[in-house]
Symmetry: C2
């Protein structure tokens, strides 16, 4: 039967060049999946992701789909893929969805988290899954800046995009902070994010926390739309794609 298979994926991005397959580099999550499906059915099956994740970025709930003619159950397909995936990638769910479902076009909301370990001494077991910030952070101005980032804005100044004809307006539904001792988890929920946008917003928030930027500069970046006005780009290992909602 013709099936449209929707899969949910976890991956430790540390070893990979990101989600998106690249002509000259096989070391991407998408390529790993397509290689396994090609081995299974003898021809290339394009795997459509909800969007790219950059090199080194992790996923707890990336979503992808692919079309297949098969008599197997979704669970058998999941088991087959998991049997061939390396230990740092796993399919946590596979279900059949209507033929028209598209992992990228139909996204309603994406949830990312950025994890920071804010203590003089790093925590060795999190070193590949958070950004270590030894300097103390002033959380009150950071919260003020977080509130200014929420809402519908042109996020071009908070991205690595060159000028583009496509819209760079997005809605950040919410930006919240969960704090557990030295562990900070910033949760970004929005309808979509531009290239490097979360890592640049996060770097900007850190500069506010260090006192080298003021919360009100957020507004100026929205107006000027110039990347160099914003803060630095934090490293990828703290970033997790948590969930994609449809």
């Amino acid at each position: 039967m013709k099936r449209n298979v929707k899969i949910t994926l976890q991956y430790d991005g540390g070893r990979y060049k990101g989600w998106q397959k690249l002509g000259d580099n096989p070391n991407t999550i998408q390529q790993k999946l397509e290689d396994i499906l090609e081995k299974k059915v003898g021809r290339n099956i394009p795997v459509i992701g909800s969007g790219r994740t950059d090199a080194g970025v992790h996923a707890l709930g990336q979503v992808a789909n692919f079309h297949l003619v098969t008599d197997e159950t979704a669970s058998q397909i999941q088991d087959y893929i998991n049997a061939y995936l390396p230990g740092d990638i796993a399919v946590t769910e596979a279900i059949f969805v209507p033929e028209a479902f598209h992992s990228r076009y139909h996204v309603k909301e994406k949830i990312y988290s950025y994890r920071i370990h804010n203590d003089a001494i790093p925590f060795v077991f999190d070193r590949k899954y958070c950004h270590h910030v030894p300097e103390p952070l002033r959380l009150e101005p950071m919260r003020e800046a977080m509130a200014m980032l929420e809402g519908t804005h042109d996020f071009l100044g908070f991205s690595s995009l060159k000028k583009t004809k496509k819209s760079t307006t997005r809605t950040l539904h919410s930006l919240t902070l969960e704090k557990e001792g030295p562990k900070l988890r910033f949760i970004f929920q929005g309808d979509g994010f531009l290239l490097h946008s979360i890592r640049i917003m996060m770097g900007t928030l850190l500069e506010v926390g260090f006192g080298t930027m003021k919360p009100k500069e957020i507004e100026e970046i929205f107006i000027k739309k110039v990347r160099r006005e914003a803060g630095f780009t934090v490293p990828p290992q703290g970033l997790f794609l948590e969930e994609v909602r449809y």
Copy 2:
């Protein structure tokens, strides 16, 4: 001044041959520390650990001490060592203690945890820090067996030791289970543990959980004192030395 420095250490044991230095293999935690101290003072400073951890075993609170003539503060010594340690080892505390303190002789209690991910699908971010058990586990007989392991016993049958003249009697003060969804954390508190003892007790408990052993076989292993009567040895990556008490 003459100082006895007590340090508390975290390490990800994945890359190492264990705590104890080995003549022909420099890749141990103890050797890393002695190399750094030798660089600092120009001669070998023996580092005394609370005990060995095996290859691949992790520590959240290993304790060690060493004697040094220095005018620095404990915090300066800690910073020096941390500056040279690789990212998978960190000194989380350094304090001066009385000259007579000995990390191994004066141990009152050690706390280890063994972590299991009990679900059909592994959790990729824990793959180096737990043992993945896809089969369902019967927790009730496991709890019964855990209670039988507690107390003062000759643990020789639960160890890889050859016959020895030294006492193999130890007291397991408590053995408890913390469960959070598929994550199981078995906590072993005792006055000391024989070679591979926790990993063999844990393998025995898993066999009880699978139904291939009965709780009452625990008693027989205490009586027979024969390794082959006990369960398999679980892999090292689930084992953490959590704390050493003095």
